[in-house]
Structure formats: C-alpha cells, structure tokens
Symmetry: none
Subunit: 198 residues, 4 copies
Amino acid sequence: MNKSVSKDIDKKRKVFEAATRLFAQKGFDKTTVDEIAESAEVAKGTVYYYFKGKEDIFLFLVEEGIAILKTRVTDALQDNQDNTRRALQQLFAVQLGFLHEYQDVCRIVLADVWGISSRQEKLQELLNDYYLVVGTIIEQGIKEGVLYPQNSEVLCTAIFGMTVVVALHFLNKDKPVPWQEIENQLNQLFMRGVVKPV
Amino acid sequence: MNKSVSKDIDKKRKVFEAATRLFAQKGFDKTTVDEIAESAEVAKGTVYYYFKGKEDIFLFLVEEGIAILKTRVTDALQDNQDNTRRALQQLFAVQLGFLHEYQDVCRIVLADVWGISSRQEKLQELLNDYYLVVGTIIEQGIKEGVLYPQNSEVLCTAIFGMTVVVALHFLNKDKPVPWQEIENQLNQLFMRGVVKPV
Amino acid sequence: MNKSVSKDIDKKRKVFEAATRLFAQKGFDKTTVDEIAESAEVAKGTVYYYFKGKEDIFLFLVEEGIAILKTRVTDALQDNQDNTRRALQQLFAVQLGFLHEYQDVCRIVLADVWGISSRQEKLQELLNDYYLVVGTIIEQGIKEGVLYPQNSEVLCTAIFGMTVVVALHFLNKDKPVPWQEIENQLNQLFMRGVVKPV
Amino acid sequence: MNKSVSKDIDKKRKVFEAATRLFAQKGFDKTTVDEIAESAEVAKGTVYYYFKGKEDIFLFLVEEGIAILKTRVTDALQDNQDNTRRALQQLFAVQLGFLHEYQDVCRIVLADVWGISSRQEKLQELLNDYYLVVGTIIEQGIKEGVLYPQNSEVLCTAIFGMTVVVALHFLNKDKPVPWQEIENQLNQLFMRGVVKPV
DNA sequence: CATGAATGAGGCTTCATTCAT
DNA sequence: TATGAATGAAGCCTCATTCAT
C-alpha cells in the first residue's frame, strides 16, 4: 500500500518533471503532450488524469517555481532584516542558487513572460508578487539611508534581469558556471558601481 | 513598371510588418499564416511568394532587428572611443532607445532566446556577436583603468539583462515608461553602485 | 447480510436510474460513464461491476421500457377485447400515460430508433413486436366491421407516430402538458376525422 | 474556369451529401469527420475548409432540409387557399413526397429533435416555424367551419408525427413503399376517422 | 505577380474500459 | 463487493504548405 501511494505520487511527479524539462528545452508550444507522456514514461491518458491539460501543467510548474523562489528570498531577507547590505548580498546568492537548481523553470518563465496572451498575464501577476517582496527590502534600505534614493521598481527588476540573464548565459555554455565570481561581481557592482571615481 | 515595383515592395513590406506585429502580440507559434495574410491585406499565397515560410519571416525579422541594434551600438561606441565613461552611458541610451522603438522585435527575440533547441542556437549566436561588441569596449575601459577590473562577459550580459528586463517590465504596464529615469538610474548604478559607502 | 444485499440492489438501481436520467437529458453518446457514476454516487468501477458497459445499461433500460409499454397495452386491450371502440380509446390513454410517466426512456428510445445501423435494428425489432400487438386489435376491429377496412400496418404506425410526436412536442415546452385535451382530440380524430362532412 | 467553379461547388456538395447520408445512417455522434471526408472523397482538411465543424454541417443540412419542406408546403397551401379540404390533402402529399426524397434529412431531424442540447434547441426552433405554417391553414379551416373546432397545435404535430413515422417505418422495410395507399388512408382518416359511426 | 482552394500531418483532448487491490 | 488509478484508441480540429491558374 505504501508502495502504491508512492507510485501515484511518482507518476504525477514524473509527468511534472518531464514537462519542465521539455518546456525549458523547446518552449511550451513546441512541446507536445505525446512527448511529455513518453518522456515521463506514462500513457498519454495519464497526463490528463493528473492535469486538466497542457496549460494546466504549465501553470502548476510556474506557480510552484516562483513560490519556491519567493519563499527562499523572503526567508533570506527576514534573516537579515537589520542589515540591508547583507540582505542584498543574500538576494544575489539566493537568486543565483535558485537559477542553478531550477534553471528549467527560469527558462520557461523568461520565455513566456513577454507577449500578452492570457497565460502570460497569470505569469506576470506571479512575478509582480515576487518583485513586491524584493521592493520592500529596497525601500527599507533607502529609508534607512543605506541605499541611494531611487526608484525601487527599476532596481528590483534590474536585479532580477541581470541575475537571470547572466546566469542563463553561462548555463548555455558547456563550461562550468563561475557562480562565485558572478556573485562577487554583482555584489561589487552594487557596492561601488563599475566605473572608478575620477 | 515603376508602379508595379513599388507595389511589390509594398506587399512584401506589408507582410513583414504584419508578421512583426502579430509575432510580438501573440508569439510565433500562436500566429497563423492566415492571420498574417489577412492583417497584411494580401492573399495567403502571397506570403509564400515573398517568404519561404513562416520560419523564414521570423529569421528575416530577427536578423534585421539585431543588425540594427548592433549597428547603433557600434556607432555609439566608436563615437566615444576615447571616453569609456561616456561610451557606457551611450550604451544604456542606445539599448533603451532600441527597446522603445523596436519593442515588437525585442519581444519576439527575447521570447525565443532562452531555450536550448536548434532555433535558439542561431539566435544565441547573433546575441553572442552582440556581446562581443560590448565586451570590447568594457575590456578597453578596464585596461585604461577607467573601470574596475572584472569579468567583462559577466558585465556585458548583466547590462543586457538589466536593460531588457527593466524596459519590458515597464512596457507591459499601461502607464508611459519613465525612460529618462530608468536611464539615469542605470547610469548611477554603474557610477557608484546602489549602496552608500560606510 | 440482508443489509448488504439491499445495498447491492441499491447501487445497481442507483446506477440504472442515473443513467436513465442522463441519457434522456443529454443523449447516449454525450453521457459519460464518469457522469453516471458521479450522479449515482458510486465509483466508476462499480458501474462496470453491475453492467457489462455503457451499451449494456442502454439495452437494459430500453428493453425494460418497451416491455412495460407492451404489458400495459396488452392488458388494456385484453380488458376491452369485446369493444374495439373502447380498446382504441384505451390505447391512446395508455400510450400517453406511458409517455408521461416514462418520458426519459421514451426520449432515449426515440432518439435512436430512426437510424438504420445495427443498434437500431434491435430496437426496431422490439418496436415491431409492439406494433403487432396493436395491429391485432385493429384487424379484429376491421373484421368485426367496427373499423373501416384499411391497412392495419399504416394505422398502427400512424397511431404510434402521432401520439409520440404530439406528446414530446408538448413535453419540450415549459408549460404543463394538456394531456386530457390531447387524448380527447386524438379520440375524436379517430371517431369522425377532422373534416366535417359536406 | 467553368470547370473549376463547378468543381468547387462539387466538393462542398459532396461533403454535404456524404454527411447527410452518414448522419441518417449512424446518427450525428457516431459519424466521424474522417468518414465524411472519405465518403465524400475529399481530404479531411477540405471538410473544414467549407464548414466550421461537424456541428456546422449538421445545421446547414437541417436548415436546408426544413427550408425546402416549408417552401413546398407553403406553396401547396397557397395554391389551395380557398379550399381547405384540398389543402389538407396536398399537405399529406407534399409531406410524403418530401419524406420520399429527403428521408435522410428526416431521419436526422427525428433522431435529434428529442433531448435538450443546444443543437436541438435550434432544431426545435426550425420545426416550430414549420408547425406555424401548417397551423395557420388549420385555424383558417376551423374558422371557415370546414374543420371541427380543436387545438391546432395538437393537430399539426399529430399530422407531422403520423406522416413521418409511417413513412419511415415503411422505408425501413425492404419492400417498396405503398405511397399512394398511405396517402389515401391518411386522407380518409382525416375525412371520416377510422371508426364507423354507430 | 498573385491567388486561394485543397491538403494531410499532427496536435489536444475525451472517455470507455481494465485491473490490481 | 467495490474501487479508482491508469490506459490508449479514437475523435475533432488547426494550420503550414503546395499548386494550378
């Protein structure tokens, strides 16, 4: 009985994982349900037993992904509530770590967040939720005088954008990603910019 | 004869523009050739008279887009070869301007650039070409001692990522985009970071 | 044990009744086994425990329906063997009463009886059986000189057709069906036609 | 060029005729688009080039069928406006003639007019339209004192029902249908009933 | 040059049925 | 006796592409 229960979860998870892999590789539209089923080693009907449809898998997957990122970031920021400097450093670390672990989900999100279909609307909602979390810590830093005054919306989208694009760029290459170097450099960028003072 | 030639060019351009518009609105896959033809006010066969197929329109469009961006950036950098500080400022201005003017093309490219399948490879090649241009000026700046020493690949992908994601984020909202504010803020980020010195 | 037996019967009946309801509402093909199971408040497997399949439920239901009608008509006719006039009156009364009481079954049967494929053949056989019963009384009436000489096959199918179509027409409207008026009018039609003699 | 035009019409008509045949034989739900295409000797895509979908074919077919019947009946009734007796006789003749020619459409209508899905609603609307035409002549006959006073709605549905069911019953047999005998007998039914006066 | 009728491969989804428990 | 997870055949429909004119 234990076995059957674990098996059930197995099948749903297998579908879920196969879909993530394939969506990241080929995009939502180019991925067929047949491929998902085959890659998950279940019958096509099984996909529909656990999910209402292709769209449903997508949403499930993205929601879960962003939820995890949000949780991690929230936790990290809360642990450093009294130290904005450290909080920002943690932000980079957490985002890069997430990219490392969940690069597939990130690719999916990035590929679909532009455009205007209904699917994207839901996605942007989720992402905006996430920006809010980061925005809060930034505004707090500005109020405390730790950060220069500036538009927090610009800043947190910039942070997200640079982290993600840098990471995905390196992940696309065959060489191992210099995670530590990236993290350090982004931190430096934040601490002093890139242009030396005159 | 003059008339017929201008008409021909007209039809090809109309198809091209309709495709751009639709790809940006609904994505490559969700756009049908029927729609393109209708939106361009030509018969479906005409689309195939001027382009080899849907994919062909896409490539045409993307190549042209990136070529324009590359030209603009190259020009801007060359005009400021002796002043890295100004060159970087111009880089932001040009990138943001391009996003503003060609947001349709940008959406299309960006929606497709993050996967790892075959079509994306072509795209990434084009993008890497572009990174090279930007990388050159950065390395020069480092050598000249104007920029802090750092990995130029990280920096130029970071620049690209932050610009793009910020711009598209604001373009997706209904309000007008605060282009000037964004440009200033990204410049400041580069000049001094965001964290005040202790 | 008593309890379990009564329960069993309960479940089979519940499935049967749910199926009847749904078949009448949405037709055989548009009704799914899932719906039947849900509507009967049993698991899907249970449906297959009691019936060989969807088709089996259908046949069970139709056979039972026609059998009831046949019994009622036979009884009514036998009670009036010596009075053809009354027998015909009873025929209308019984048919209309049956349509009233079993309109679900009637809809199901009637929706399927007019094709010419294999399933319908079985149905038409059952119906022909029924026609025979009615035909007998008519022929007797003719022989006795109570009815005008005529083709009994035409007459009994006409009786069936007019009764059914009239009844279902009114059942499809939202207003209450004027059963008594219909019965009287059909009787009058048989007694004197609708056209006044010149 | 003439040829191509006639060919075009040909293809649409071929689809249309194949669908009619199959719907009548196996019912709407049991008929697949593949079968329609194959039976019409066109590619599956062609079916969708001319019709929006299976439902669309159905509607087209039924609308056309009922429209023809309505026209014929209207014409016949108008030709006998001053003679209700003859008008009724013509009504039987026209209905039976229509059943003879368009038995497929009739089967389809009959099979689908019961039940309550959206498809049927449209159908019942069409049929009610038809009843109205027949109802008018009946009411006129009553007003003129040619017919016995009675509910015209009951009468015209009864006429339709008996005609159709009788005709289809005989068409289902292998023997040739005794059209003349049926027509005469139904006329007699209307002129004097079936029961001799005491 | 330009057209649009015609195609057929391929995608998404539904659902009756089976079977291990 | 009763269940419900799992299946896969089969249906409907879309759409990029071709080709005769």
